[in-house]
């Protein structure tokens, strides 16, 4: 599965008046596309801090000590705030815990929903245009470079120019269609409302403006592929002006008649399928003949045939040649880069790093690594992109640290002499000497060589996979990418379109009467409805990753259930990756594909949903499972004794040891590593060490698992139970 997000060795602390609170202490996880990862733990275990780090909204007193969060070829911990603007909300969105405080109380719901769409719309258009041009140019260049003879070379140049030409036609056609189609659908919606009001004879203030608006939109909808002007032009125009006229004269019955006629027309127009403008653009640019009259599906096929025969077959083979050529060139460069990386390794492994040498090598490496990026590859290769910034930041830390260490040590020595003097005199100072806060240069060096190693390994993998690459599929992917960006250029978001989309979004998240609700303020919504609005805002920009920070903790069961179903539905529809933060294990069982249990800033257990619920291995997971009642619990609940540790002074051994009834001596002395239980299931507890005594989970957990198995078997025997339940529901 495609990996969307990769978090490695993340460490975050907070400066406070009493000292440094270590909130997150080295966590790693991956998030695949279309997957839900649940992070479970008590409050203060660092789960929210992790999610905030991913979104780049950590509090001002936070320090990111180490680690990386890699998304789409960028390390989110190292990019600038300006770059983050492009990602936050657009690619990664968040649903917050409290729906009341995450909405602006004095701004209407509609404004809040469309805000992001309007802000992002223009930027997206611009980016689509840019990537379309650069991609087509590099494709053309590669085509020319890989040509075997002059004839092929000219053909490549010509076809690229052709592509650009008919792409222009394509965007023109599609843009016109978009305007007309939006006009028709919006007019349809508004007609419905105003017709209702007229029927009930309750015409609100400002109805005249709305009528005007409807008439205007109906006129706009005249397009060959929406409301055919050849056939209906006069009808629509007449009805629209008659509508305005009748309404002015307060002849509502006549106005209603006009509205109904317009509604039928618009409904037909809005319901028509969208033709393939890419193909049509080509035909209209290069064929001398006019478009043949035939039904849409046949027309699409006909156009496809024409495009294939006339252009696409040759273009595809040329493009494939270019893609192959480009990839092969890249392999050559990768081999060179691997050699250079090998050569650079001793520079960064020296006893004392030499600043000039290091920087020069880094600059050289940066160039070589940058060259290994294939401009024709559609998906980005994250490690290659993050290599040089990571190196740079580590190097900066090293040289700055090396300089500062001298001063810090000198100061420390002075303090120590003072302290020792007091002790030697027999005094008992009431303060303790803090350790010198020196930068660990060795650690940085280790990090540097790790970065190099990782890239080298990655390159090796790429080279190994060279034989099994499917160039044909890649070429088709490339053409799709071009088409997508071309459509993106004309995808203009005006306030009107944004409003329309927002209303559709509100319908999608299950808010009734979205037209009315659109103009209301947050306080007019109930808790569940407010949370739906928050979800709709999060989805407004079509994100890849959705972070849900306890989205249902403040809601009651029925609403919770609805919200969870909604998130699940959207997840499957849009293939979202979801990070779900909660302390309610029932909710986790519902939502998660994989679960990470966090305690005191560390992931203590990690596995699929089944692993965690049926084969939990960490005492903390057991404790969590046994401390919540389910419907069959009768015995006393086993609460976890004590409180979570103070993270200013994190414990030396396993952080959970003081509250753990299964703790052994070693738990207080050394931190347990992650033990592997199965390919998907890991847990950090010494109980899994081969030398450890065999311990069974507490009775409450065992009982519950037994009960769950029973229930499942009972259900299997019945067989039809769930089916029956579903029928009833529908």
């Amino acid at each position: 599965m495609e990996n969307k997000l990769h978090v490695q060795d993340l460490r975050i602390s907070f400066r406070t008046g009493n000292g440094k609170v270590q909130a997150v202490r080295g966590i790693d996880f991956d998030l695949a596309r279309g997957e839900t990862l649940a992070i479970v733990g008590e409050s203060g275990s660092g789960k929210s801090v992790t999610s905030k780090a991913i979104l780049g909204i950590l509090a001002g007193n936070s320090i990111v000590e180490s680690g990386e969060i890699i998304y789409d070829g960028q390390d989110l911990l190292k990019i600038s705030e300006e770059d983050f603007h492009k990602i936050r909300g657009d690619k990664i969105a968040m649903i917050f815990q409290d729906p009341m405080s995450s909405l602006n109380p004095i701004v209407r719901i509609g404004r809040q929903l469309t805000e992001a769409m309007l802000l992002k719309g223009r930027i997206r258009q611009r980016e689509s245009r840019r990537s379309f041009r650069t991609y087509l140019k590099s494709l053309g260049d590669r085509m020319a470079a890989s040509a075997a003879n002059n004839e092929e070379r000219t053909r490549a140049a010509v076809s690229c120019r052709k592509f650009q030409q008919f792409e222009k036609k394509h965007t023109e056609l599609e843009s016109a269609y978009n305007t007309a189609h939006e006009g028709a659908t919006e007019a349809l919606d508004d007609i419905g409302i105003i017709a209702f009001e007229l029927e009930k004879n309750t015409v609100a203030k400002g109805a005249a403006d709305r009528i005007k608006d409807i008439a205007r939109r109906c006129r706009e909808s005249l397009n060959k592929y929406v409301v055919d002007p050849d056939q209906y032009k006069s009808e629509v125009l007449q009805n629209a002006s008659a509508l305005e006229e009748n309404f002015r004269k307060k002849d509502y019955t006549a106005a209603l008649g006009n509205l109904y006629r317009l509604r039928d027309r618009m409904a037909e127009g809005a319901g028509r399928p969208k033709p393939n403008f890419f193909r049509m653009g080509y035909y209209m640019t290069f064929s001398d003949k006019p478009l043949p009259e035939m039904p849409l599906e046949e027309l699409n096929d006909f156009l496809l045939d024409y495009l294939e025969k006339d252009f696409m077959k040759v273009f595809l083979s040329d493009a494939q040649r270019a893609v192959t050529y480009s990839a092969e060139q890249c392999y050559e460069r990768i081999r060179r880069a691997v050699r250079e990386l090998e050569a650079a390794r001793p520079v960064y492994a020296a006893e004392q790093l030499d600043k000039k040498q290091c920087t020069d090598t880094w600059k050289k490496l940066r160039m070589t690594v940058k060259e290994t990026v294939d401009p024709l590859a559609v998906s980005k290769d994250s490690l290659v992109y993050t290599f040089s910034p990571s190196m740079k930041s580590e190097l900066d830390k090293y040289f700055h640290g090396a300089k500062a260490n001298v001063g810090i040590l000198r100061k420390y020595e002075r303090e120590k002499r003072k302290y020792d003097a007091i002790v030697a005199k027999g005094g008992k100072p009431d303060w303790e000497l803090a350790d010198a806060a020196v930068t660990d240069l060795e650690l940085i060096k280790a990090n540097l060589s790790h970065i190099i190693d990782r890239l080298a390994e990655h390159y090796q993998k790429v080279l190994d996979a060279a034989d099994s690459r499917d160039y044909h599929a890649e070429t088709i992917g490339a053409i799709d990418y071009l088409m997508q960006n071309a459509s993106g250029i004309v995808d203009r978001v005006t306030p009107r379109i944004a409003r329309h989309r927002a209303i559709r979004l509100m319908e999608e998240v299950g808010i009734s009467e979205p037209h009315k609700r659109f103009r209301q303020y947050p306080f007019e919504f109930s808790g569940g409805m407010r949370q739906r609005i928050v979800i709709a805002i999060a989805l407004a920009a079509n994100p890849d990753i959705l972070i849900c920070d306890e989205p249902t903790t403040a809601l009651d069961v029925t609403i919770q259930s609805q919200i969870l179903e909604l998130i699940n539905k959207l997840k499957t529809e849009r293939r979202l990756s979801v990070i779900f933060i909660t302390h309610d294990l029932g909710v986790v069982a519902n939502m998660a594909d994989r679960v990470a249990v966090m305690y005191a800033g560390k992931i203590v257990e990690y596995g699929t949903c089944e692993d965690i619920f049926y084969h939990a291995a960490h005492p903390y997971t057991w404790a969590l499972l046994s401390s919540m009642p389910d419907l069959d619990t009768n015995e006393k609940l086993t609460a976890i004794p004590g409180t979570p540790p103070n993270m200013i002074y994190p414990p030396k051994g396993d952080a959970f040891a003081p509250r753990n009834q299964y703790a052994m001596q070693i738990d207080f002395e050394r931190q347990p590593p992650m033990f592997r239980i199965s390919d998907t299931h890991y847990a950090a507890t010494w109980l899994l060490h081969p030398d450890a005594p065999k311990v069974d989970p507490p009775k409450a957990v065992m009982d519950r698992i037994a009960r769950m198995n029973q229930r499942r078997e009972a259900k299997l025997e019945k067989g039809t139970f769930s089916q029956a339940g579903r029928d009833k529901n529908e």
Binding site: A589, E610, M708
Partner: protein, 384 residues
């Protein structure tokens, strides 16, 4: 003690709120009993009136209509229903009756505490007078002082102090400017306790009871974690020696592990003092675990009331079914198969002809239904 004796009886309780011309029926004709020593769970979605019911019982609102009896004494009475009937009727006998009832209701609502304290005083009188008469010298003076003190306290006693409340949000419900000692002892002080020593002793006893230590008494609420704060809230309500505790979502704002601590604490206290608890919550697993009987509310109405096992095994009202089908359980396989049943009152019921009422379909199992539905439920039950 007879376990069937109702400690609290709520009859046709209505609580309406007026906002301009619009009347919100927060609680609409709800009746139930709470027996001594049991835990009565009240569930429903937010806004269905469960908290309002709790608050009406403790007399935080003046109820619109209906009666609330605590230990057989009518502590709250609404007069709206009488007034409505008064307007409709023309029969002079009935009018006189109704007027008398309204007077009685007003009187009792106002004076139930006074009467209780008078009763308490006369009890004290009969207890102390023979003692004082029998005692001589110094003993007599001491006795007299004691009697005076007890009388003073009795004058301030109110019946309603025997109902105490634990609130949902442990952060917002504690005054940040008071120490824990002041918070816990506030009720005692209001009741006229002046002896510092006695207060301290009681506060320490309560702290230890709820699993805190004496040293915590001089601290402020912000120094505690959420679970500890909720314990302070429990201690504050227990110190008044209540018979009935209204726990309004006491664990909703807490972490799972802390939730278990607080529930265990309440369970212990209940066993130790024989407390009766009205437990209001929306987490159904917790309610099922904790309560003996459960009432389900929907939009201000009680739609179903039964023993907790009975309710979960045989839910009869469609809303209860939908509510039960929404409970998430920590079992992934089950969760993937779980289908939520939606409840749409307009589609489920046809109340245009026959209005529903609260009927007993099985011993101890009540459902809100009309005649047709009642017949249907009865055939359903007998066919099982």
């Amino acid at each position: 003690m007879n376990n069937q004796e109702p400690l609290l009886r709520v009859e046709h309780l209505c609580q309406y709120f007026k906002a301009g011309n619009f009347v919100t029926k927060a609680v609409d004709d709800v009746s139930f009993d709470i027996r001594k020593g049991e835990v009565f769970g009240l569930v429903g979605e937010s806004g269905c009136g469960k908290t309002t019911t709790g608050r009406s019982i403790i007399k935080l609102y003046n109820i619109t209509s209906g009666n609330i009896y605590f230990k057989g004494v009518r502590i709250a009475a609404g007069i709206q229903s009488y007034k409505d009937e008064l307007k409709a009727t023309k029969d002079p006998v009935r009018i006189a009756e109704l007027k008398a009832q309204i007077r009685a209701a007003r009187n009792e609502q106002k004076n139930c505490d006074k009467e209780y304290s008078a009763k308490r005083r006369s009890e004290l009188k009969s207890e102390y007078e023979p003692k004082i008469a029998a005692a001589v010298g110094e003993e007599k003076a001491r006795m007299e002082a004691q009697y005076k003190d007890a009388l003073r306290k009795a004058r301030r006693t109110r019946l309603v102090t025997q109902i105490q409340m634990i609130f949902q949000d442990p952060i917002a419900s504690l005054d940040p400017r008071m120490t824990v000692r002041e918070i816990i002892s506030e009720g005692l002080v209001i009741q006229g306790e002046r002896d510092k020593k006695v207060i301290d002793e009681k506060v320490y006893e309560m702290l230890e009871l709820v699993g805190l230590v004496r040293e915590h008494a001089s601290r402020y609420p912000h120094e505690f974690s959420g679970g500890q704060r909720q314990r302070i809230g429990v201690a504050r309500s227990i110190i008044m020696n209540p018979e009935l505790i209204i726990a309004d979502e006491p664990v909703s704002a807490l972490d799972v592990s802390v939730q278990a601590q607080v529930i265990n604490l309440l369970n212990e206290l209940r066993e130790r003092f024989g407390l009766t608890i009205l437990f209001i919550a929306h987490d159904l697993s917790v309610v099922k675990y904790f309560s003996d009987r459960i009432g389900v509310m929907y939009y201000g109405k009680m739609v179903e009331l039964a023993d907790s096992d009975e309710l979960f095994a045989h839910p009869l009202h469609p809303y209860t079914r939908s509510l039960l089908s929404a409970i998430p359980l920590p079992d992934p396989v089950y969760e993937r198969q779980r289908r939520r049943i939606t409840y749409n009152p307009l589609a489920e019921h046809d109340y245009t002809v026959d209005q529903p009422s609260f009927r007993e379909v099985r011993p101890g199992h009540f459902v809100q239904c009309n005649e047709a539905e009642y017949q249907k439920i009865m055939t359903e039950i007998s066919s099982k």
